[in-house]
Assembly symmetry: D2
Homo-oligomer: 447 residues x 4
Amino acid sequence: MPTASQRIPAVVRPLVSERARKTLDLVEKFVNEECLPADPVYHAQLGEGPARWTYPPIMDDLKKKARDLGLWNMFLAKGHYKEGAGFTNLEYGLMVEHFGRCRTASEATNNSAPDTGNMEVLAKYGSEAQKKRWLEPLLKGEIRSCYVMTEPGTASSDATNVALSIRRDGDSYVLNGQKWWISGAGDPRCKVYMVLGKTDPNAEKYRQQSIIIVPTDTPGITIKRMLSVYGYDDAPHGHAHLVFKDVRVPAENIVLGEGRGFEVMQGRMGPGRIHHAMRSIGAAEEALNWLLTRANAEHKKPFGKLLSQQGVILQWIAKSRIEIDAARLIVLNAAAAIDAGNAKQALMEIAQAKILVPNMALDVIDRAVQTYGAEGVCQDTPLAYMWAQVRTVRIADGPDEAHLEQLGRRENKRAAEAAFLLQRQVEITDALFRKYGTKESGPCSKL
Amino acid sequence: MPTASQRIPAVVRPLVSERARKTLDLVEKFVNEECLPADPVYHAQLGEGPARWTYPPIMDDLKKKARDLGLWNMFLAKGHYKEGAGFTNLEYGLMVEHFGRCRTASEATNNSAPDTGNMEVLAKYGSEAQKKRWLEPLLKGEIRSCYVMTEPGTASSDATNVALSIRRDGDSYVLNGQKWWISGAGDPRCKVYMVLGKTDPNAEKYRQQSIIIVPTDTPGITIKRMLSVYGYDDAPHGHAHLVFKDVRVPAENIVLGEGRGFEVMQGRMGPGRIHHAMRSIGAAEEALNWLLTRANAEHKKPFGKLLSQQGVILQWIAKSRIEIDAARLIVLNAAAAIDAGNAKQALMEIAQAKILVPNMALDVIDRAVQTYGAEGVCQDTPLAYMWAQVRTVRIADGPDEAHLEQLGRRENKRAAEAAFLLQRQVEITDALFRKYGTKESGPCSKL
Amino acid sequence: MPTASQRIPAVVRPLVSERARKTLDLVEKFVNEECLPADPVYHAQLGEGPARWTYPPIMDDLKKKARDLGLWNMFLAKGHYKEGAGFTNLEYGLMVEHFGRCRTASEATNNSAPDTGNMEVLAKYGSEAQKKRWLEPLLKGEIRSCYVMTEPGTASSDATNVALSIRRDGDSYVLNGQKWWISGAGDPRCKVYMVLGKTDPNAEKYRQQSIIIVPTDTPGITIKRMLSVYGYDDAPHGHAHLVFKDVRVPAENIVLGEGRGFEVMQGRMGPGRIHHAMRSIGAAEEALNWLLTRANAEHKKPFGKLLSQQGVILQWIAKSRIEIDAARLIVLNAAAAIDAGNAKQALMEIAQAKILVPNMALDVIDRAVQTYGAEGVCQDTPLAYMWAQVRTVRIADGPDEAHLEQLGRRENKRAAEAAFLLQRQVEITDALFRKYGTKESGPCSKL
Amino acid sequence: MPTASQRIPAVVRPLVSERARKTLDLVEKFVNEECLPADPVYHAQLGEGPARWTYPPIMDDLKKKARDLGLWNMFLAKGHYKEGAGFTNLEYGLMVEHFGRCRTASEATNNSAPDTGNMEVLAKYGSEAQKKRWLEPLLKGEIRSCYVMTEPGTASSDATNVALSIRRDGDSYVLNGQKWWISGAGDPRCKVYMVLGKTDPNAEKYRQQSIIIVPTDTPGITIKRMLSVYGYDDAPHGHAHLVFKDVRVPAENIVLGEGRGFEVMQGRMGPGRIHHAMRSIGAAEEALNWLLTRANAEHKKPFGKLLSQQGVILQWIAKSRIEIDAARLIVLNAAAAIDAGNAKQALMEIAQAKILVPNMALDVIDRAVQTYGAEGVCQDTPLAYMWAQVRTVRIADGPDEAHLEQLGRRENKRAAEAAFLLQRQVEITDALFRKYGTKESGPCSKL
């Protein structure tokens, strides 16, 4: 059975250091032997009803094991904060794929969203005091955090619409408004919100919003309700609908400065999208494993034939293999582009990954569901849950359609070049016709 | 306007030598400034009717220019024959993409199918005499050749069905039977056929066939008719239906030895498929250039709007960009896999390219056709012709479905591994449940 | 705003009686003004936790209203039992589409699965005693029932695999085994199971199984757990995993006779599939209504434009319209085929509906989800829940793939006819060539 | 083997008269036994080169047979001109499907485009003199005609762009400009053009264009070249690029009056689109016949198995069956809608057919091509040619995308209704919550 490092695509191999290969294999082993088996226990420890918004004991054991193995904070790039973990985005991408195969691994290794993005923001833009108070405990995995952006009632895929009011009042800011889809707010260890809101409605369009740090126990914040994702509550993480009523925080909690919300947000985006995408790749791989297992189950042969002996199932397997591998290369290419320059120069590559991957993964997972039949839609496999998770990736950080349009506009800028090339060719062709004395195509001539 | 070498995907860049980058940019320039403009003249020089099966004078001028630029036989890998051209499969793949954007470039640089495959076979398996007589003039571009495999009336996607009789008779072999889809047979400079036929119907299944060299002017060979590809005759190359009646050639014309046809054929396959695939990538890129040009044509605005201002067209552009880039990475990864080992170890990667690329390219080209409307289906753009060409790639060397089934079977071999992993996880999970004293999920518990 | 009867497709109109049109409009009004508004209240009355497996009070009020309007048991065809409701399958199909738009309507009008199928079975095959004890209270809506077929651990899409043991013992039958996906078992008013099991493992393949009536309070039956569907528990209906341990029922509870399970099952299938399909059509229509509403919401304009002003959204709307209308015609044609003959003669038409409709509806609903973004995946619209419901239709009663293969085999029987026609044409063509003295196509002649 | 009338879909049957059924069966027999066998002879009689623009002798024999059978001008609706043929659009649709299965049948029965549309226009809007001079010989099949609308260099999918100048000069009109895609202009019997051009550039937008009758032998008209369709020249019909230079015709040749071009054009559109669509349905059915024949060819078994024993092929067959049948119902529903009212009231139904059918037919035909492999792309089956024909239907009379957008806009008008319904439901729901004293959903309550 080849290990993860042995399965790195040929074209990518030269970019992966020996140290990263070793860590990658360790990650795979940790996920296979510790995290995947822990997933059902984690769920069972949550139980039913209100008790679900708690912290399952098994997680602490997993965290301890991960730390002991040195599998901790691998997301943190060199130079981002202190020594960091020292992996490139591409190397980390290969690891995060395995986290995406299960529920517990990201958190067990302290590589889970939205903490990773928030830690990057704090490391990059935070004041020393902010780092000490929030970044340090986050890096140690003692607390968790939320990224508080989306609002009900506004089309917040366009972030200039974000309207929660952040009003300066003496040494404080006062927040008023509603937010929803605040992922992670259900976790009792969640201690801090990074809130995007409007500090100046009269400023220039991209200078109206700011990001501010809000401790979760600040008076005036209520969790109105938790939102479900296709019937799942995602406890204890969860997705909250929050109400902010006269929530007062010290002025120094602002990140980077008033009106610089877009700047901070942009810095947060690139690598995070790669991570999400690689998680979905992992989910697709795991789904394919389940599919293969069902398709070869000796005790379940409808009409006396293994499912894997049916041409249609073999096509599903083959197509899944091709589609996963193509999508992985797209993500790794985006990671390599970030590594070679920065997230901004790699915008096109990142957008490609953002669009391609979840659609691919949904197809693969759905094939696995269909192979299992009724078993595939219920709690007896992780497939239905995975599907629901990945489905949201087509929406989170803006719907596919917005990204497609943006990517289309960007590519369309090449039109002048393309037209210029075609036009020049026509001119050279005309000269050639004259040179050779050839007559242009007669009636219905062939190309 | 970034050059070809500047547009190499980030993840691939480290694998491309400085020399290959320079050649790549030279190829792009040659294609843009010489070959693409020459295409319409080439077609016009063919004219109408029987005159079409001739050799357009412009080709010799292109060949001379290519030689002068050092763009010649780039397909020939180091060690294959004498010094070769010294490029890796990946490096050559990047070049061949540009050949795929036009009609004349492959031939102008002596990198055109089926000659490249035949030259590889002769270089690898030919006797010294065979090399001298056929390989040398092929390498110089003085003559052309055919690969003669497919037969009417048999399902020759399964090559064990190939039935043309090659009977030993003293110092000769005598060939009897029919062949069709013999591409290149229409060209007056085609001087040699590499024929696959059956030398021993009683041998073991994969030892019945042999490959034999047959000069095209051997008595007993007739071109029964030429076959069209969606209305195109592909003159002067063409696709012939050949009849062999008591065609006698010296025994030494057999390649490698009797019964070794499969062995020879297999050696021919891997890199060739990569080349075909990269050509289709080039066709798709060229189609996207045409699409962009039409979508921004100021003088053609239905309902007063540029096509590129319409969301649907922008989506086509974006999707085309993503799909081309993903497919290219799949092909280059297969090339890297061949470069890292050999074609046999890279079978899965090659199959992925073989399947994914033409389907992608057909979609992109069809979008371009649709953008042009009626103009797109006729001789005024290369789009309809490109589409017909690429359509055959889904059939040539076996239909998609055969490759998908084979790839599915190969991937399905992982099923035991996957089942083993899942089973082991279940066991560890059970132990964890006992350890924590957690009860398994109650009524309808959440995952 | 045209009413439901005014929107009947032109080609269908002549088949719908005046009385059915009036009832159809009444159904639409009842669904719009009573049932759809009641849905959220119904859900809220279920609440959280174990309390969910109860009977929401609002349902009784709805039932009373439905009875008062004469909207009761419309599924029951004339002649099936007493006077029946007197509607054709096509007419009832038009009504059931509206039930599919909401949660409460089917039950409120006593037209809900699996009761309808069970009532048809009892009406057609039940003894007088069985009818009196079970059919009468079902028709009055006083009790509910389950159809108990699927088993864990067997590929029960092939019903010959059904293995639960039904052993004769004196005047009784004794049942042992497990069943799952027993829909409706969570409802406290569910009083009777129709169980398919094996009475004779040695009988001829299609005579081994029988159907037997089992009161739900028979000792030895336990609900092991409830199964979720993409996180939804479907309370109070629910999907149970049942264990039968030495469950003893009187011998007269067998339906139609030992070994006649397949016969009974077949009679149950045809019209039921049409109903399921029409419900999915209704779900798709309702999803399109939601999509249209969101796409024109003045207060939610990303980037300053109504979603409905974007070309891509307009395409979604148009495609949804076409796909829904095509699918509806396929279902209504199947209904017309049953009405014109019987379900057996209409097998192909029914299979077409079974396959086409859920795939179409999933696409339409998913577009609506995507249009709403995050709002679409949570509890604030019925879309995510609808999607999960319809997803199971691709699996229930056998997966798409089994039906496609069967339909393929059936259509493939026409091959001999088709080959005969083509062969005869070739012969006539040959004669014509001789008659006209025309020579067959020359080199690469056009078609 | 059931006849065409026995295969009428169940839901359509009540709408087809006994007389139409008999004619339908006669049409099927005529197509099967006369036209399909005549197709290859027709092609062979055209030959190669310039000779192709001629009239193959076999056509006159077919015409005679058709007349003798009473199969003549069936397109002509009762009341359109004299007695007409007396069939409804739906009845004629069923017949025209069979014409679409072959090349010669439409013309043999005098039901071929663009003559049918031109005859309808002349019958409806022509003066008595125009009818006598042009309609009568067209009805007798003595001459043929063209519809001259599309222009090179303008986006003529938007007909308001049509720019060819028609200038009044005394008793004459003088035409100047270029037209292309003038189908039928290659036929030596083509005697009359119906030309759309601009009579008044200053008039209101939809009153600038007029239609005028132009005899093909009027001085000043030249055929610049013929256009190919995926390599096919469609001889002798053909698609011409015409140049009009000072072409002078009598003023009375204007149809209906100056500035009424749009009015005339609109009357031409509805039923014609149904006919085109039904032809494509016929092409798809014929392709499926070919597919079935190949999939069961005993002498062509790759890897020892009939293609029809492979699951993937069976799925293709099943999907083709479903998709053809769904598309046919959509077309027949549109025909029924025209029959029940008029083409204007049936615009949505017609647009659905226009969009759905060619896309479906292309899929089915492409599957057939793929089943045949190389044989499928050449002249040995009608498949490649059929595909190219149907491909143009996605473009002719406006591209799919324009029709989708228009259909989307039309459906989007329902948005206010949908929003009103949803809003009213919310209000009733609120009242119900108050009535029952139920609390709204708690934290993450289930739907």
